[in-house]
């Protein structure tokens, strides 16, 4: 056995491994006849033994509580991170007010404003026109309250022909054909 092979066997195999591989006798014979490899093997053994003989270090008493607190903080951090991503770099108003409380107040104020805005009519402004079912061909808008069952539909003539209207709005009776001007009179809820 060459020195290189002997060292490779000792350095990469467990004792049991090279015993199984039937190399023990060969390695032993080489070591007995090669003082350099014998010294090498002794120092490898000394390094291993020294490392293994060292006392294992133990974690402190506060280790586990620290992990569990860390988990809790990480969870809070995730929530705060999500809030920050929604509201930007939101700073707490005061150190005693948590960031989440500030964000929650902000959301509540927005909700109150939205509820009032939708429920209160604005004086002098007509209600927004009601939109009829949309099609992919044309937009038909009900523009005023019907007079005697008729309503006026404002039709964008450039996008819609009479055939289109019949095809997509069969719930409306068309009383006159489309003209160059926008708008036509139809009878509401009657089949064409």
């Amino acid at each position: 056995m060459r020195c290189e092979d002997c060292r490779r066997v000792i350095g990469t195999m467990d004792l049991s491994e090279y015993e199984r591989a039937g190399l023990q006798a060969e390695v032993q014979e080489h070591l007995e006849n090669c003082p350099e490899c014998e010294a090498w093997a002794a120092s490898t053994h000394a390094i291993s033994e020294s490392l293994r003989s060292g006392a294992a270090l133990s974690a402190s008493e506060s280790f586990t509580p620290g992990v569990m607190e860390g988990l809790q903080e990480r969870r809070s951090g995730v929530i705060a991170g999500a809030i920050n991503s929604w509201f930007g770099d939101l700073r707490p108003v005061a150190p005693v007010i948590p960031r989440a409380a500030v964000a929650a107040s902000f959301v509540a104020i927005l909700l109150v404003i939205a509820v009032f805005a939708t429920s209160m009519p604005i004086p002098g402004v007509a209600p927004a026109p009601e939109t009829a079912p949309a099609t992919d061909e044309a937009v038909v808008t009900r523009t005023a309250a019907p007079a005697q069952g008729n309503i006026t539909l404002s039709v964008p003539t450039q996008n819609c022909t009479l055939d289109d209207l019949i095809k997509y709005h069969q719930d409306y009776h068309i009383s006159r054909p489309l003209g160059p001007d926008a708008g036509m009179v139809v009878a509401h809820e009657e089949k064409y």
Binding site: M13, D14, S43, A46, S53, T64, V67, G70, L71
Partner: protein, 205 residues
């Protein structure tokens, strides 16, 4: 090979705790932390050679493990999986530390007339001693381990100090068995060279 710090719970109990922890049971996870904290702390402390920093990194290991539990499929043991997380965190910490301190990369090699060799830190300690006691040798070896590259340090600490088998180390590192053996061989060789340089004499038992 057996673990240096033996487990108090058997495999079945560990699996049950892992299953419960995956479902969000924090008490179960707390028991797992208690079970593995010494092993992970010891490993990280040996890797970093800094006990204070090691506690933080070891705790972070468990926090990462908890948040990643849904991804744990049980292909390897829970312990191996923990070591993998700890290993990655320890190596990241080493790299950040050397970057912050303006040091060279621990993985960097030097080009010499003899070829490419692993970089070694010059010893600034006391001169060689004539008689080396085992305890002193061990302290010197622990110092020398820090001079190894992260890859070599990982395998020698896992094998010699943590008592993992080659197969377990291969799972932790994500490298083939042959690579692990080769790294272990190189780690021992470099340790010997570093020690002989430090001690100015051959290392003997």
């Amino acid at each position: 090979m057996t673990d240096r710090q033996s487990s108090g719970l058997d495999d079945v109990a560990i699996e049950e705790l892992v299953r419960r922890a995956r479902q969000g049971d924090r008490d179960a996870f707390e028991k797992l932390v208690d079970e593995y904290k010494d092993k992970i702390y010891n490993y990280v402390a040996r890797m970093l050679n800094d006990r204070d920093r090691a506690e933080d990194v070891a705790q972070e290991t468990f926090i990462r493990a908890y948040t990643s539990l849904p991804n744990f499929r049980g292909a390897s043991s829970f312990q191996t999986w923990l070591y993998r997380i700890a290993s990655n965190l320890a190596i990241d910490t080493m790299r950040r530390r050397s970057y912050r301190e303006g040091e060279f990369s621990l993985d960097e090699t030097l080009q010499t007339r003899e070829g490419e060799v692993q970089r070694q830190v010059e010893d600034e300690g006391p001169g060689p001693e004539k008689t080396i006691q085992n305890e002193e040798l061990r302290a010197q070896i622990e110092d020398a381990i820090v001079e190894l590259s992260p890859k070599l340090r990982t395998v020698i600490v896992l094998y010699e100090l943590q008592g993992l088998s080659y197969k377990e180390i291969a799972e932790v590192v994500g490298a083939p068995l042959g690579t692990i053996k080769s790294r272990l061989f190189n780690a021992r060789e470099q340790l010997r060279e570093i020690l002989e340089k430090k001690l100015d004499m051959p290392v003997t038992g």
